[in-house]
């Protein structure tokens, strides 16, 4: 008997120790129901299995202009940072050894756009209409070699973005706005490259500099023109070609003597980037007229490559796993209501908010670990199978893969916690499971069927926004592309999307906490 020695009632134990006790109790509850332990493991297995099936159902054929198709995909260059890049253009140039400066003036920059979509082979779609795309580029290019995907720096005039200094596909500095005529200059000093522009050829403004480590003594320098696919008039995109007139071109430094040499880069049949036709150049008096088609920029045009990423085979398997986790999360609290066990729980732990918090921690941790394991297994598996089936898979850096795994885990944990809260509110398993699936899974299922504006809003406002953490397709401000859901792009950034889901979960938890406190058990 402890009649006289019992500890004083109320507040004898620090809050943290009290919560730890509740947490241990809830964890004991969870692990001692075999079905609740088996189901999440099954969820992970199902996630991996369905990821494999989805990836295995994806086959990509690569077709030549003559209509022969074999499994595989067109050649996609990989840039210095490991990203997929477009590297297709026409250049006229020579070799430069050591430091030097190239100066030129662009007097005109014009362009044409194909009237047929990119899906039609260029040989069948010769018809064009005038039209210069905003990211058509003409200027001075310097790179160690013309191997596609290698490092570079360039200063250029563009169709609609003014003068730019760009290097290594993703790096961009803006110069003066407006179009030709204008003067451009690129200097090399050791490994440092600087781009300048000028309205009159006497007053120069530096746009930006780049440090290209390991730049060899002899590099390619030249004038270049390129013009990317335009999505202005066609959702499929239209091939374009730009033409620029250069004069007053001067190279100072040790340039190879002799004639300028023209080269069409990345415009072959095996290259992925759609070009209107081969570029070229000719002399017109003191001027050099150069035309080119393609782009030097990050590759985002997934319509041409497919939308496969390391995570693209995963959503279906993840949805299946989520449904299993939702059932377990709902049962974790509704089973107590069904059996009347909730009274024993609340008699043992009168702080009901503490019970809810402990249950949330337990089910959240279980879902997090299960989803992390499932994602860590299914991402490399899906990627491997896609590669084996000939599909192009957009390269994802280690950081991106870690983000997707952690994001998948967080997405599952937050969903499980939200469903637990719904279970606390409804007290009924069927209602909680149905509600959980309705609110947390259905939007993503609907979203996978359509791609209209309403669906985009689902991914902005509904809990389905959480799926944004799976985003692995690159996007770039340097490429005009409809970054729509239909093209594989979630409307929100990964962590912002997760934040939307977390806000829904927080709302459900807050309601649950209030209801639990006010309601008789």
């Amino acid at each position: 008997m402890t009649t006289t020695t019992a500890p004083p009632a109320a507040a004898g134990t620090p809050e943290r120790a009290r919560f730890t006790a509740v947490l241990r109790a809830e964890w004991t509850k969870f692990r001692t129901v075999r079905g609740w332990v088996i189901a999440p493991v099954m969820a992970a297995v199902l996630c991996v299995l369905f990821t494999y099936l989805v990836a295995n159902g994806t086959h990509t054929d690569y077709c030549t202009g003559t209509g022969d198709c074999t499994p595989g995909h067109a050649f996609v260059p990989t840039g210095p940072d490991g990203q997929a890049v477009a590297d297709s253009y026409y250049t006229v140039g020579r070799q430069l050894t050591g430091d030097g400066t190239i100066t030129t003036r662009i007097t005109t920059l014009t362009g044409v756009t194909s009237t047929a979509p990119t899906s039609v082979a260029p040989s069948q779609a010769r018809q064009t209409r005038p039209g210069l795309t905003p990211w058509a580029k003409a200027g001075i290019l310097l790179r160690p070699s013309t191997r596609q995907g290698s490092a570079y720096a360039a200063v250029m005039a563009t169709g609609g973005h003014g003068d730019r200094f760009q290097y290594n596909y993703g790096h961009d500095h803006a110069g003066r706005p407006g179009r030709a005529p204008r003067w451009l200059r690129l200097t090399r000093t050791g490994n440092t490259l600087a781009g300048y522009d000028s309205a009159d050829g006497t007053t120069w403004t530096r746009i930006g500099t780049a440090h290209l480590a390991g730049l060899p003594a002899t590099v390619h320098i030249g004038l270049f023109v390129t013009s990317p696919v335009s999505f202005r008039s066609s959702a499929d995109g239209s091939r374009t070609l730009a033409t620029a007139t250069f004069d007053h071109t001067v190279i100072s430094g040790h340039a190879t003597p002799g004639a300028w040499r023209g080269q069409n880069i990345g415009a072959g049949e095996q290259d992925f980037y759609p070009t209107l036709r081969s570029g070229g150049y000719h002399r017109a008096g003191d001027s050099l007229v150069v035309s080119g088609s393609g782009d030097i920029a990050p590759a985002v045009v997934q319509g041409l490559l497919g939308a496969n990423t390391a995570a693209s085979s995963q959503p279906f398997g993840l949805t299946v796993a989520l449904i299993v986790l939702i059932v377990v999360a709902a049962m974790f609290i509704t089973a107590e209501y069904r059996r009347g066990l909730i009274r024993i729980t609340f008699a043992a732990i009168p702080g009901r908010g503490r019970v809810l918090a402990a249950k949330a921690v337990v089910i959240g941790a279980v879902a997090f670990v299960i989803a992390a394991v499932a994602a860590a297994a299914s991402i490399p598996l899906g990627e491997h199978v896609l590669h084996a089936n000939g599909a192009y898979v957009f390269p994802a850096g280690a950081l991106t893969v870690v983000r997707i795994i952690a994001g998948t885990a967080a997405l599952s944990a937050i969903t499980a916690i939200a469903v637990l809260a719904v279970g606390a509110i409804t007290r009924k398993s069927a209602a909680a499971v149905a509600g959980g699936i309705l609110v947390f899974v259905l939007p993503s299922l609907i979203g996978s069927l359509g791609s209209g504006g309403a669906v985009t809003w689902l991914y902005r406002l509904s809990p389905a926004a959480g799926l944004s953490v799976l985003q692995a397709l690159p996007r770039s401000a340097l490429v005009d592309y409809p970054y729509t859901f239909g093209n594989g792009y979630y409307p929100l950034a990964p962590w912002a999307g997760l934040g939307v889901l977390a806000a829904w979960a927080a709302l459900a938890l807050a309601i649950a906490a209030v209801v639990l406190r006010r309601r008789d058990a």
């Binding site: 019992a6 006790a21 809830e26 004991t28 107590e336 066990l341 024993i344 043992a348 008789d520």
Partner: protein, 306 residues
């Protein structure tokens, strides 16, 4: 205030149109078994839920050892309760059911094995509670109530579903718990279960306390038993004469507040036939029927014999 005391004052609780508790006050003192009796729906379970902080009363307060339940740190060390023996997760073993409760109170697993032994469930400890008979679940519920070695024990209908052997065991356990100095509050709708073990009776009907007295005070009266072929007529006559009647079976009436002679005289005057008149000492059951007569008559139109 002794820690082993339950004190309930002025509880009022309404569920929609139903007034479940209408000013319930009583005290369950330490060292005694307090029988909490009343028909189903009288308010016993509601009162117990209020004491355990599960339901919030509209008015009034319940104290355990001078504290509100919500303020207790690790409440199972202060109050052990059996509220609903069916309340187990069927796929969890008996031992694991007690283990999570022990964790929540920062008690070690040794306590779990100890109470399992105390209620005779050691052999069944690793079986799933879903396969338990109601009697075994009652024992598991008792084990949970005793887990924290609490000075106050509250058991709601602990005899439900128990076999005769279990009932004998339960009665002995209740006595032992009281002898150890604990306050024991036991609710029941079956009077016979509490006869001989309750020290104190709190009777409740339709949310009101009907009696709150030591058992000796309640069992002083004598009862007259009447065998008659016309119990309905006899009851009418005797009630007019000032007696309280209970129908015990289709030819037997129990009468209190009248002596045997008064019964014979009243029936004689009215010419109601009867076969036999005898007297016996009142049982707890008689007291119960007397106290709850009005209540049950109101609901069913006729006295109910359980």
């Amino acid at each position: 205030m002794n820690e082993a005391t339950i004190e309930v004052t002025g509880l009022r609780k309404r569920y929609g149109p139903t007034l479940a508790l209408d000013g319930v006050s009583f005290t369950a003192p330490p060292g005694k078994v307090t029988g909490f009796i009343g028909p189903n729906g009288a308010g016993k379970s509601t009162t117990i839920r209020v004491i355990l902080g599960l339901d919030e009363p509209d008015e009034g307060r319940a104290w355990v050892g001078g504290h509100a339940y919500q303020a207790l740190n690790h409440p199972l060390r202060h109050v052990g309760a059996l509220v609903d023996a069916a309340a187990v997760q069927p796929s969890r073993t008996a031992r694991n059911h007690l283990l999570w409760l022990a964790r929540s109170q920062r008690l070690d697993a040794g306590r779990v094995d100890s109470v399992l032994g105390q209620v005779g469930l050691t052999a069944a400890a690793r079986r799933k509670a879903g396969g338990f008979s109601l009697g075994m679940r009652q024992r598991l519920g008792i084990a949970a109530a005793l887990l924290g070695d609490p000075p106050v024990v509250i058991l709601d209908e602990p005899f439900n579903g128990m076999d005769p052997e279990g009932i004998v065991w339960m009665r002995a356990l209740l006595r032992t718990l009281a002898t150890e100095g604990r306050a024991v509050l036991v609710s029941s709708h079956l009077m016979s279960e509490l006869q001989g073990i309750a020290d104190h009776i709190v009777a409740i009907g339709r949310g009101k306390i009907l009696a709150d007295a030591a058992i000796e005070e309640l069992l002083t009266g004598e009862q007259v038993l009447l065998q008659t072929p016309a119990p309905a007529e006899a009851a009418q006559v005797l009630q007019r004469a000032g007696g309280a009647t209970t129908v015990l079976d289709d030819s037997t009436l129990g009468i209190s507040a009248l002596s045997a002679r008064q019964v014979v005289e009243a029936l004689g005057r009215s010419g109601v036939a009867f076969a036999e008149v005898s007297t016996r000492r009142a049982t707890l059951e008689d007291v119960y029927f007397q106290l709850t007569n009005e209540e049950t008559e109101f609901r069913t139109g006729t006295a109910v014999r359980r």
